[in-house]
């Protein structure tokens, strides 16, 4: 047995990695809690890959078969409904935790130099995760998702200049059709996963390179901070968190299985109450509230432009926040962070209450 272990160690050089992990230190202070969402995300992405691969064994991506195959999975396959619910609930959790992760790093100013690229890769990861959710929503090909996708792609299509191409690219034509489903399928199961894995690798390697960010208030007084070993201490925390989140996920999937709804029909009127996934509601609600014409702009174009600018702003934050960059307090950006957070909450609440 011992020999087998040695044989393996000698041939893989894995000892060096373990050694490295044992020596790696992680800062521990009163904000340590906010380091956890990142690792939980990695665990949940693992759940998505596994459940996604399993669903892929039965799912058939054409408009004649998509709905039927999902219905077959949920109705007839052992654990089918559970598996699909796991995948869907996990995606909800991923987005929720990604939001938490993003806003906690925003408010703790983790994007300070030299960690700008960590922040930027993170915002792109966020966009990728949202696109994952958006593309996955259509795959069961039900009525609600069809029109939500129609509206969503049209919103992307109202972007100035690139909108036209974006719409054609997403829909595979002027209107939603079977081609759209094929495209979304390709995006969801291979194109986005490849991009996600590459970006996540960059994100994690950069964090490894720079070490975890310590908030300025802690950094200024070394007494408030100690270091703990990554292995085993931090990894054990991660494992416990992972177990908790996974149990929560199983409970959700068991007791609140996701519904499949009615099959989509390209020649049926839009049903009342079409809604995108909850994490797009704040944008949806904003677009509803903007009047149809503002000066000589169409309201929706204005709305889309605001969100596009918002995304650019988010990416550029490390370069705009000059105070944090000099390790000074940056109340303005704290305010902006809370402002965005409150805006998202209020708009989402309005959207729910408005029903």
């Amino acid at each position: 047995m011992i020999n087998l272990k040695n044989w393996f160690y000698e041939r893989t050089g894995i000892e060096a990695i373990l050694d490295f992990l044992r020596k790696k230190q992680v800062p521990d202070h009163k904000y340590t809690f906010w380091y956890y969402p990142g690792s939980i995300l990695l665990i949940l992405i693992g759940v998505q890959i596994i459940t996604g691969c399993l669903l892929l064994l039965y799912y058939k991506p054409t408009i004649e078969t998509a709905y039927e195959s999902v219905s077959f999975i949920t109705k007839y396959l052992p654990f089918g409904s559970f598996l699909r619910s796991l995948h869907a609930w996990s995606s909800d959790l991923i987005i929720a935790i990604a939001f938490i992760h993003m806003f906690s790093t925003f408010l703790l100013k983790s994007y300070r130099p030299p960690r700008e690229l960590i922040w930027i890769s993170g915002t792109f990861l966020m966009f990728i995760l949202l696109t994952f959710g958006f593309s996955g929503y259509l795959l069961p090909w039900n009525e609600l998702s069809l029109f939500a996708t129609s509206v969503g792609t049209q919103i992307a299509g109202s972007m100035p200049i690139i909108g036209k191409y974006l719409l054609l690219f997403l829909r595979g034509g002027e209107y939603i059709s079977g081609d759209t489903l094929t495209r979304f399928f390709a995006l969801h199961v291979i194109i986005l996963p490849l991009i996600l894995l590459a970006l996540a690798a960059v994100h994690v390697l950069l964090i490894q390179h720079h070490g975890m960010s310590v908030p300025p208030s802690v950094e200024s007084s070394p007494a408030k901070k100690k270091d703990i070993p990554f292995y085993p201490d931090f990894l054990l925390y991660d494992a416990v968190n992972g177990l908790f989140v996974f149990s929560g996920l199983v409970i959700l999937a068991l007791f609140l299985p996701k519904e499949l709804g009615i099959k989509a029909d390209l020649l049926a009127p839009a049903p009342a109450g079409i809604k995108p996934e909850w994490y797009f509601l704040f944008m949806f609600e904003t677009l509803k509230l903007i009047p149809s014409m503002v000066l000589s702009f169409e309201g929706k174009q204005l709305g889309v432009m605001i969100f596009a600018l918002g995304a650019v702003f988010l990416i550029c934050i490390p370069f705009l926040d000059r105070w944090s960059a000099k390790n000074k307090r940056s109340p303005l950006f704290t305010l902006i962070g809370f402002g965005i957070l409150i805006y998202i909450f209020v708009m989402t609440a309005i959207s729910y209450l408005g029903e």
């Binding site: 029109f147 129609s150 509206v151 049209q154 919103i155 191409y165 054609l168 690219f169 595979g172 034509g173 002027e174 209107y175 059709s177 081609d179 390209l266 020649l267 049926a268 009127p269 839009a270 049903p271 009342a272 109450g273 079409i274 509803k288 009047p291 149809s292 014409m293 169409e298 309201g299 929706k300």
Partner: protein
């Protein structure tokens, strides 16, 4: 005069040509990939469709049908007139439906209302619905876009 050294070394030349070749390779790939990804010309939308065996509509009802690649709606107003519009809402392109109780065309997505002339009555749609001409013949109904010269229309049978 003959220089003792070449101004352009072999190394430089090789570096340069390798970079240029790689750039050319990727450059030539962009066009084809772009054209492959964007479906591009799928042919113009037909300007006229013939509906055979279209069900008889009672006054105050509507029905969707396919006009080329997009949905369109046929309604019979309470006073018996047959009218047709695109069914694609001008707001975010949801498919509209006829609402009998108010005699309006309704988009459920964000509660957009149009009257039976396609004009926006309320809600977020920014523009009216395009109205089509309806011609009833013996065994078929011909629906055509307005303002398109007759004769040279690409036709589509439905």
């Amino acid at each position: 005069m003959k220089l003792k050294e070449s101004l352009f070394t072999r190394r430089k030349f090789l570096n340069w040509s390798l970079t240029a070749s790689l750039a050319a390779l990727f450059g030539t790939a962009v066009g084809p990939v772009w054209r492959f990804v964007f479906p591009g010309e799928v042919g113009p939308e037909p300007t006229e469709v013939e509906l055979k065996d279209f069900p008889e509509l009672l006054p105050g009802t509507g029905k969707l049908f396919k006009f080329g690649r997009h949905p369109a709606i046929m309604i019979r107003t309470p006073d018996g007139k047959l009218k047709s519009f695109t069914a694609v809402c001008t707001h975010f392109e949801c498919t509209v439906q006829y609402k009998k109780d108010t005699n309006q065309i309704w988009c459920a997505c964000h509660n957009g209302f149009y009257d039976t002339n396609g004009k926006v009555v309320s809600g977020p749609p920014p523009r009216p619905l395009e109205e089509y001409d309806v011609a009833v013949e013996k065994d078929k109904i011909i629906v055509s876009r307005r303002g398109v010269p007759k004769g040279e229309k690409p036709k589509e049978k439905a």
